[in-house]
C-alpha cells in the first residue's frame, strides 16, 4: 500500500515555487519578446508586399512586385546591387537588414480597400510581416495606412498620389515617397502657362473619388493662380467607360482646354474619347484646343496609344533620367526583366531601400525608432536628386517631372519625354496647407504595437 507524502502546506509551497519558476522566464523576457509588433527573433525578417495582383491595376501591381523582389535581392547581397551602389547612405551592406536575411510575403489588394486591409492584416498577423508596403490607389493606401497605424507596423506607401495620404489622413506610422496632387499642380501650371499662355479657359472632368477631388483642387488652384479660368468641373463616375456624353459638351462651354483628372482605365478611355471627338483639331477662342492629364503613368500611356502624343502631364520618375541612381536601377531592372521599370516600380523599390536603411541606421526594427530615423532624413542617389523625408507629414520632397507624350516613340516603352524637371522648392508647401487638411490634420503618435 502506498503512502502519500502530500500535505496541504507542502502542496501550497510546491505550487508557489513551480508557479514562480514557470512565470520567471516570461516576466524577464516579456518586455523584449513583445517590445513591438512582430519583432524578428530568428535569422530572418519578413516584409509584406501588398499590391494589386488581380483587378484593373494588376499590370501595375506586377511591376511593383518585380521591383520589390529586386530590392530584396539587392538587400540580401544578390544581383548587381542596383541603387545600393548610388544611395548616399552607406548603412546597407548587402547582408540583409541588421544582419537578418530579408524574406517577403505578398498580398493582393485587388485595388479594393477592404481586400487590401484583409491581406495586410493577414500578412501582419499570420506571416509576421514587420513592415507593409505597396498599393496602386490612394483609397487603398489610406485604408492600409490606418490599419498599420493600429497594428503598430510601418507602412511605406506605394503609388498613391492623393494629397490626403500625407495630408488629412496622414499617420505617424505611414510614409510616402511618391509625389502628390499638389506637387503635380504646382509643377504643371508654369509649364502649361508657358506653352499655352495665361489666358485659358479650362474644363475639368474629374473622377468621382478622393484622388480625383484633390487633383482637381490642386490643378485648379495652380492654374487659376497663373491666370486661367475654370469654366466648369464635372464629376464622372469611377465605373464610367464611355465618356462621350461628358466630352461632347466641352466645346459648347467655351472652354479651350480640357483637364482630365482621371487615372487608370478612366484616363485611357476619356483621353481616347476626347481625341476621337477631334478636340485637339479644333480652334476655340482663337487658340488650339489642348488636353492636359495631370498624372501620367507609362502603363496608362501605353493603353491610350497614339492619343497621348503632345499631351502634358506629370510623373514621379522616368526611366530615361540620366542620374547615376536612375541608370543603376534601369540597368538592374532591365537586365533582370527585359524592359525598363515604371514609376510604380521605382517608388516601391526606393521605399524598400529607405525602410531597410532606416532600420539599419536606427539599429532597431521598432516602428517608432524607424520612424524617427526616416523623419527629416535627407538622401540622394535614388533617382530623384536630393530628397527630404519631411518629419512633419512623412512626405518626400524632391524635384517633379513634367512630361509630354512623345511624338515619335521608338518602342512601346518610349512613350513619354521629360520637358522639365521642376525644382523641389517650387513644389514645397507648408505642412498645414489647406489642401493637406489644414492645422487640424496631425500625424498622431507613433505606435509600436505589441
Amino acid at each position: 500500500m502506498s503512502k502519500s507524502n502530500f500535505t496541504r502546506r507542502g502542496l501550497l509551497k510546491t505550487s508557489a515555487v513551480a508557479g514562480a519558476g514557470l512565470a520567471l522566464p516570461t516576466i524577464f523576457t516579456a518586455q523584449s519578446a513583445h517590445a513591438f509588433t512582430n519583432e524578428p527573433t530568428g535569422g530572418t525578417v519578413t516584409l509584406g508586399f501588398n499590391v494589386p495582383q488581380t483587378g484593373p491595376y494588376a499590370d501595375e501591381g506586377a511591376d511593383e512586385l518585380r521591383a520589390y523582389q529586386l530590392a530584396v535581392e539587392h538587400l540580401n547581397g544578390g544581383g548587381d546591387g542596383g541603387m545600393l551602389n548610388t544611395f548616399s547612405s552607406k548603412a546597407l551592406d548587402g547582408t540583409g537588414i541588421l544582419g537578418k536575411k530579408v524574406e517577403y510575403v505578398t498580398g493582393d489588394t485587388q485595388t479594393k480597400s477592404d481586400a487590401a486591409r484583409a491581406s495586410a492584416k493577414s500578412m501582419i498577423e499570420k506571416d509576421g510581416a514587420i513592415m507593409i508596403t505597396g498599393g496602386s490607389s490612394s483609397g487603398v493606401a489610406v485604408a492600409v495606412q490606418a490599419l498599420c497605424q493600429e497594428a503598430g507596423v510601418i507602412f511605406m506607401a506605394g503609388l498613391t498620389h492623393s494629397n490626403d495620404t500625407t495630408g488629412k489622413d496622414k499617420k505617424a506610422n505611414g510614409f510616402r515617397h511618391f509625389f502628390n496632387s499638389y506637387m503635380s499642380g504646382a509643377a504643371l501650371a508654369p509649364v502649361l502657362a508657358n506653352a499655352y499662355g495665361n489666358d485659358r479657359k479650362a474644363y475639368h472632368l474629374t473622377a468621382d473619388y478622393n484622388w480625383g477631388y484633390t487633383t482637381e483642387e490642386a490643378v485648379r488652384a495652380s492654374t487659376e493662380a497663373m491666370g486661367w479660368e475654370t469654366v466648369a468641373a464635372v464629376k464622372t463616375p469611377l465605373t464610367q467607360t464611355d465618356f462621350s456624353s461628358y466630352i461632347a459638351p466641352v466645346l459648347q462651354s467655351g472652354a479651350d482646354t480640357l483637364v482630365l483628372n482621371h487615372y487608370g482605365g478612366n484616363m485611357v478611355n476619356s483621353l481616347t474619347n476626347a481625341v476621337q471627338f477631334g478636340l485637339r483639331d479644333k480652334q476655340v477662342n482663337g487658340k488650339d484646343f489642348q488636353i492636359v492629364v495631370p498624372l501620367y503613368s507609362r502603363l496608362m500611356a501605353k493603353g491610350a496609344g497614339a492619343n497621348v502624343k503632345g499631351i502634358f502631364g506629370s510623373t514621379n520618375w522616368h526611366w530615361s533620367l540620366q542620374d547615376e541612381g536612375s541608370k543603376a536601377f534601369v540597368k538592374s531592372f532591365g537586365t533582370k526583366y527585359g524592359f525598363p521599370p515604371s514609376q510604380a516600380a521605382h517608388t516601391t523599390y526606393v521605399q524598400t531601400l529607405l525602410y531597410a536603411d532606416a532600420v539599419q541606421r536606427a539599429g532597431s526594427f521598432a516602428p517608432c525608432a524607424v520612424a524617427e530615423a526616416l523623419e527629416d532624413y535627407e538622401f540622394d542617389g535614388l533617382g530623384n536628386g536630393k530628397t527630404l523625408y519631411r518629419g512633419a507629414d512623412h512626405q518626400c520632397f524632391k524635384d517633379v517631372l513634367v512630361v509630354k507624350g512623345k511624338e515619335n516613340p521608338t518602342s512601346e516603352f518610349d512613350l513619354l519625354e521629360i520637358v522639365e524637371v521642376t525644382p523641389v522648392e517650387q513644389v514645397t508647401y507648408a505642412p498645414d496647407h489647406p489642401q493637406m487638411g489644414g492645422p487640424e490634420a496631425t500625424l498622431g503618435a507613433c505606435n509600436n504595437g505589441a
Binding site: 483587378g55 484593373p56 464629376k235 459638351p249 466645346l251 477631334g278 502603363l299 493603353g303 524592359f339
Partner: protein
C-alpha cells in the same frame, strides 16, 4: 437645342452597343429560355478577336538597327511586320491600319464556334434547371473567360484604333446651320451606329424572311408543337446561340476603337444590357432594340452638366431608376409578351 441634339447623338452609339448585346441576350432567352450572364463575356471576346487579328497582322521579325540604342545602350531591335516583306511598307501599313474592320471576317466564325461550344459544352446541361442555377453557372463562366483573357492579354487596356480614314469628327452643327464646333460627332461612332443598324436589320430579316427563321420563331412561340412536327428545334436553337454570340462579338469588334478593350469590358456592359432586356421585355427582339436606344439616350441626358447640377448622381442611377419604374408598372417590359415576368 444644340445640347439636346448632341446628347441624342451620343445616346445613339451607346444605345447601339446596348441594343446589339441585348438583342443576343433576349434571343437566347426567347429561344432556349436561358438567362445568359456570360453574354457580356462574348462581347469582350469579340473585342479581343480584333486585338488578336491585329496582332496576327503585325507579326514581325526582328532587325537590329545599329544606328539606334535601346534603354540599356544595346543596339536597338526593331520589329518589322512580315506584311512589309510581303506587300511593301505602304500596302502593309494600310492593311494593318484597317485591322479592325478586317477582323470582322475573323471574328464571325470564331464567335459562332465559341457560342456553339459554350451551348453544347455547358449551357445545354442547364436547360431544365431553375433560372438561378443558369445565372450562377453563366456568371461563373463569364468570370473564367475574363480571367483567361487577362492571363493572355494582361489587365491594361490595349489600344486598337480605327483606320486613319475615320479619324476625327463630323461637324453636324455646321451642317444644320449652327455655329461650328457646337455639335461634333466622331466618324467612327457614326460607322458604329450604321453598322449596328445593319446587323439588327439583318437579324430581323433572317428571322422574318427565311424558313429557318420562321421555324425558330415558331419554336419560340410553341416549342412542343414544333417538335411534334418532326423538326429538330434544339439544333436550330443551338445555331441561334451561335448567331447571338456572333452578334455580341461583332458589337465588341467594332467597339474597340471607341474604348481600348480590356478584360473587364464585358462586365461593364452586362448589367446594363440585362436592364435593357428587362425594360424592353424578356424575349422581345424589337423591345431590346427600342430599350437599348432609349436607355442610351436617357443615360446621355442624365450626364449633362445642367442636369447634374440639379440632380447630382442622376447619371449613375438613371438606368436602374427606369428599370424599377418599368418593373413596378409594366413587369413584362415595353414590348414583352403578356404573362412573361408577370406571374
Amino acid at each position: 437645342m444644340e445640347a439636346i441634339i448632341l446628347q441624342i447623338l451620343n445616346g445613339l452609339d451607346k444605345g447601339s452597343a446596348y441594343a446589339l448585346i441585348a438583342l443576343g441576350l433576349t434571343l437566347i432567352f426567347g429561344t432556349l429560355g436561358v438567362v445568359n450572364f456570360a453574354h457580356g463575356a462574348l462581347f469582350m471576346i469579340g473585342a479581343f478577336c480584333a486585338v488578336t487579328f491585329s496582332r496576327i497582322l503585325t507579326l514581325s521579325h526582328t532587325v537590329v538597327d545599329e544606328t539606334q540604342t535601346d534603354f540599356l545602350g544595346n543596339p536597338l531591335k526593331v520589329d518589322v511586320p512580315y506584311l512589309h516583306d510581303l506587300f511593301g511598307q505602304a500596302t502593309g501599313d494600310a492593311i494593318i491600319d484597317w485591322a479592325v474592320p478586317l477582323s470582322i471576317l475573323f471574328t464571325v466564325p470564331v464567335m459562332m464556334f465559341v457560342g456553339y461550344a459554350m451551348e453544347r459544352g455547358l449551357i445545354k446541361h442547364f436547360y431544365n434547371r431553375p433560372h438561378a442555377d443558369q445565372i450562377l453557372v453563366t456568371f461563373g463562366l463569364a468570370i473564367v473567360l475574363q480571367e483567361v483573357i487577362k492571363y493572355f492579354y494582361g489587365a491594361n487596356p490595349i489600344p486598337t484604333p480605327a483606320p486613319q480614314a475615320f479619324a476625327g469628327s463630323l461637324d453636324f452643327g455646321a451642317m444644320l446651320g449652327f455655329d461650328p464646333n457646337l455639335i461634333i460627332y466622331p466618324y467612327w461612332r457614326i460607322i458604329y451606329f450604321i453598322f449596328s443598324a445593319i446587323i439588327i436589320g439583318a437579324v430581323f430579316a433572317f428571322l422574318q424572311y427565311t424558313t429557318f427563321g420562321m421555324v425558330v420563331r415558331a419554336g419560340m412561340a410553341d416549342r412542343e408543337t414544333v417538335g411534334l412536327l418532326g423538326i429538330n428545334i434544339d439544333k436550330r436553337f443551338t445555331i441561334m446561340f451561335g448567331l447571338a454570340a456572333a452578334v455580341a462579338g461583332l458589337a465588341g469588334v467594332m467597339y474597340t476603337p471607341i474604348n481600348s478593350p480590356n478584360y473587364h469590358m464585358g462586365m461593364d456592359f452586362l448589367v446594363l444590357s440585362f436592364v435593357v432586356v428587362v425594360v424592353g421585355g424578356m424575349g422581345s427582339l424589337p423591345g431590346a432594340v427600342l430599350a437599348g436606344f432609349l436607355l442610351g439616350i436617357l443615360e446621355s441626358f442624365a450626364s449633362m452638366r445642367e442636369v447634374l447640377e440639379i440632380l447630382p448622381g442622376l447619371n449613375q442611377i438613371i438606368i436602374y431608376l427606369v428599370a424599377i419604374i418599368i418593373l413596378l408598372t409594366r413587369p413584362r417590359g415595353l414590348m414583352g409578351r403578356k404573362g412573361v415576368m408577370e406571374d
